[in-house]
């Protein structure tokens, strides 16, 4: 479905909801619950946390939807609420990774050029075990990112928001989005490559 059609359906459902339709509420949930759950899961790592994020997101969304003027897309607005929920959830946890990522640490020093073993995932169904193991490695690598990098990486590379949309959702500059995304990607490449080299995936 193209973007314009999506926005048109969302607009219709928002109007219906404002007019008191419970069915419109159900349809909005149906359209976005998978993405919000997945985002919560990618941010927090546990299904229970993802459920809390999804519940808080939709509850707040429907609480304020009557005042929503559609100056932004419904999807972006929902992710803004979900991001706030993730940040609140994080404040309650104490052992979240919280490290800065330095660009210099990934730039080859002394003329050495490291090689990165990033596996190709084939479409062969017999690779399902490899896929599952790789998924575990990738998920663990994403979760080991500090919160601010994880937010940007998930919004940009996993959810597919543009640099500008991500900046708007997070309330930061586009330059900060680009900087954090680049560092997150460099970090993930190293983590995934190291795990692969260490033979976690055979």
């Amino acid at each position: 479905m193209n973007e314009r059609a999506t926005e048109s359906i969302d607009h219709h459902l928002i109007s219906e909801f404002k007019a008191g339709s419970m069915e419109a509420m159900e349809k909005i949930v149906e359209r976005y619950e998978d993405r919000i759950f997945t985002f919560g899961l990618k941010m927090c790592g546990h299904l229970q946390d993802a459920e809390d994020i999804a519940q808080e997101t939709f509850l707040n969304a429907f609480k304020y939807l009557k005042d929503f003027r559609e100056e932004t897309k419904l999807k972006n607005w929902l992710f803004k609420i979900a991001t706030t929920a993730c940040i609140r959830k994080r404040r309650k946890k104490k052992c979240e990774p919280n490290h800065e990522i330095s660009l210099d640490s990934f730039f080859p020093q002394n003329g050495d050029h490291p090689t990165y073993d990033i596996p190709d995932v084939s479409d062969d169904p017999s690779d399902s075990m490899l896929r599952a193991e790789l998924k575990n490695i990738i998920d663990a690598a994403i979760h080991s990112l500090s919160h601010k990098y994880r937010l940007v990486f998930n919004l940009r590379d996993i959810e597919g928001f543009s640099t500008e949309e991500t900046a708007d959702i997070l309330g930061i500059s586009t330059q900060s989005v680009k900087t954090r995304l680049h560092r997150a990607r460099l970090y993930l490449r190293e983590r995934i490559s190291n795990a692969y080299k260490e033979g976690i995936v055979q």
Partner: protein, 83 residues
Amino acid sequence: MREDCRKDFERLSEYLDGELDDAVCREIERHFHQCPECRECVDSMRKTIQLCKEAAIEEIPAVAKERLRAMLRGCLARNHHLS
């Protein structure tokens, strides 16, 4: 050449995301053509992003979705928001 490597290393993501001018992209590609290390660097970065995207799909249990809906129905009905 090291200076070029450093410059392109810093803007690798912007290059991959198509956020640079055509002229800058051509300049970077000329460098990649001459520098196998940087070519390897951009290829592994591209593969990393693709791999993460492919691994992103999650199966959300139906029971979790049903709990979400039940909670929303209950809260909205209690708030008399809907008729």
